[in-house]
């Protein structure tokens, strides 16, 4: 015997978290892209070609390699 559908889906909007829109975004929220789809930005092909995302990660120190304590005056 094959399969049984045990719960039916509900669609209010077209799903946006599928393969495009969210891309590799790790947030798991799916709402930013939803808003983007609703607003429908008019991007002309090539407009974003020069855009590069550079993550900013501050160096707050490390637990593995703690900085040597400064000598007390």
């Amino acid at each position: 015997m094959g399969k049984i559908v045990i719960e039916s889906g509900t669609i209010d909007f077209e799903p946006v978290g599928i393969k495009k829109g969210c891309g590799k975004c790790p947030s798991g929220c799916r709402t930013v892209c939803q808003r983007k789809n609703v607003v429908k930005f008019d991007l002309v092909g090539g407009d974003m070609d020069d855009f590069e995302v550079v993550p900013i990660v501050h160096d707050y120190g490390s637990f593995r390699n703690p900085r040597p304590e400064k000598e007390e005056k």
């Binding site: 015997m1 094959g2 399969k3 049984i4 559908v5 045990i6 719960e7 039916s8 889906g9 509900t10 669609i11 209010d12 909007f13 077209e14 799903p15 946006v16 978290g17 599928i18 393969k19 969210c22 590799k24 975004c25 790790p26 947030s27 798991g28 929220c29 799916r30 709402t31 939803q34 995302v53 993550p55 900013i56 990660v57 501050h58 160096d59 707050y60 120190g61 490390s62 637990f63 593995r64 703690p66």
Partner: protein, 193 residues
């Protein structure tokens, strides 16, 4: 039904100070939230002298900037905290703790169940969930399980082989084999609408 009461009941208790938990989580992957922000952070647990830490792997930019590279995990009662090396402390919610599986085959799902008792698997990028129903010995798949605006059908199969072959178009990717999730999945999502 009182939904708020339901949420409380479904919240799973976790004690990260237990030696067994620290040992089990060491090296495992974790998705979590900082403060009340809705954007999930991805990381991996490591330990120093029996204390849990998280190496931050990925997040949206403003959270990555705030979190930094390493966080010390703490717990006060049921509340978790994450502290940066410079002493800045955040309220943290641990959402899922999991192993990663790359393009898993049916035997990989079965191995995770038999070896670790894991019955919940999640493909985060496209919100596909696979669950093994132990009592009925059935495998279920739900596409778009977590999406706020769309809940896919849940389809049940006798075997994981059958599930994988009939859903081959959505099975590729990096799956999470979930050993801890903060909330129980609601079996009937429509009650919340």
């Amino acid at each position: 039904m009182d939904n708020m009461g339901n949420i409380e009941e479904n919240y799973k208790k976790l004690d990260i100070n237990r030696e067994e938990t620290v040992k089990q989580f060491d090296g495992m992957y974790v998705d979590f939230y900082l403060e009340d922000d809705m954007f999930e952070v991805e990381g991996q647990f490591f330990t120093i002298d029996g204390q849990l830490y998280i190496e931050v792997h990925d997040a949206v930019m403003h959270i990555l900037e705030m979190a930094g590279k390493e966080l010390k995990v703490g717990q006060i009662g049921d509340v978790f905290t994450a502290t940066r090396p410079d002493g800045k402390r955040f309220y943290m919610e641990i959402n899922r703790v999991y192993y990663l599986m790359e393009n898993p085959k049916p035997e990989d799902f079965k191995e995770k169940y038999e070896k670790y008792g894991i019955s919940e698997f999640f493909l985060k990028l496209t919100d596909v969930m696979v669950r093994y129903q132990e009592e009925e010995k059935k495998w279920q798949i739900t596409k778009n399980k977590i999406n706020m605006y769309y809940v896919g059908d849940t389809i049940e199969y006798d075997t994981i082989e059958e599930l994988c072959s009939e859903n081959a178009d959505v099975m590729e990717g990096t799956w999470q084999a979930v050993i801890y999730e903060a909330y129980e999945e609601e079996s009937d999502f429509t009650e919340w609408c």
